[in-house]
């Protein structure tokens, strides 16, 4: 079988997850998940409960 190219290998390793907790790969996954949860505009997901712009907008309001 032909070896996977680097981007495909990264994708495959993210899908076929074999890393332990407290590894740098785990940290990157956690950061990606938190970024999705906090940075995705609620309108995009049509979230029925969201009435605000979220923690990022809340943090930015302190800087204004």
């Amino acid at each position: 079988m032909k070896p996977l190219t680097l981007p495909l290998r990264i994708l495959w390793n993210a899908f076929f997850w074999t890393y332990e907790r407290t590894t740098w790969q785990y940290d990157i996954m956690v950061i990606a998940i938190l970024a999705f949860v906090w940075l995705t505009p609620p309108e995009l997901l049509n979230d029925p409960m969201v009435t605000d712009q979220g923690p990022i907008a809340w943090a930015l309001s302190f800087l204004d």
Binding site: R21, T22, W24, D27, V37, P42, D47, V50
Partner: protein, 200 residues
């Protein structure tokens, strides 16, 4: 030390004190497990009422019980096979309770789309546990896939405290599908590559 390792290390300080208190009071670990599910039902009720911050606080308390029961059992020398079984079964009830709280909430808001997303996420969360349990009756270990119970619980808390339950349901759902697929692929490969059993 990694970022998640540091968070785990810091969380262990208060938990060690709670474990020591439970050991000193000689509270049976199975009782701690059961208290955990009861408190999780309260968290589910709070989710159902859209009291997300309250639900988040209750989830923290409930999951302290979930987390320490095994450690208290070890300290008290009270580890039993039944304790492990009881813990796994009760954990599934806790999981389902939280999802049902959200399903109730979305149904009262008339949001069939999120009722379905949450229901499908619940199905794959349960299948994540089932695939591992069933696989480990055939192979030695099947600990692959990202979205296990601790990740689910932490995400529930993040969703509750920051009012991002919709995004959290998507993340848990998609990553649970991957986790179930990982476990099926891993078990298939392990069984395919295993040496044939000698004939009886």
């Amino acid at each position: 030390m990694t970022f998640t390792g540091l968070i785990g290390y810091l969380c262990m300080f208060p938990l060690r004190a709670i474990i020591a208190a439970c050991v000193a009071l000689r509270i049976h670990p199975n009782i701690l497990t059961f208290l955990g599910v009861l408190i999780n039902v309260a968290a589910a009720w709070a989710l159902g009422q859209a009291h997300f911050i309250t639900a988040g606080v209750i989830m923290i308390v409930a999951n302290i019980f979930d987390f320490i029961d095994g450690k208290v059992a070890r300290e008290l020398n009270a580890e039993t096979k039944f304790g492990g079984f009881w813990d796994s079964v009760i954990d599934r009830f806790s999981d389902i309770a939280l999802f049902l709280g959200l399903i109730y909430l979305y149904s009262t808001r008339g949001r069939t789309d999120y009722v379905m997303i949450t229901a499908i996420t619940m199905m794959f969360a349960i299948m994540t546990s089932y695939t591992r349990a069933r696989a480990e009756s055939l192979i030695a270990k099947c600990k692959v896939g990202f979205m296990e119970r601790p990740e689910r619980i932490v995400l529930f808390m993040i969703g509750a405290f920051t009012n991002r339950m919709g995004a959290v349901m998507w993340v848990i759902g998609v990553l649970s599908v991957f986790t179930v697929a990982d476990r099926i692929i891993y078990t298939y490969r392990e069984l395919r590559d295993a040496p044939p059993e000698p004939a009886a």
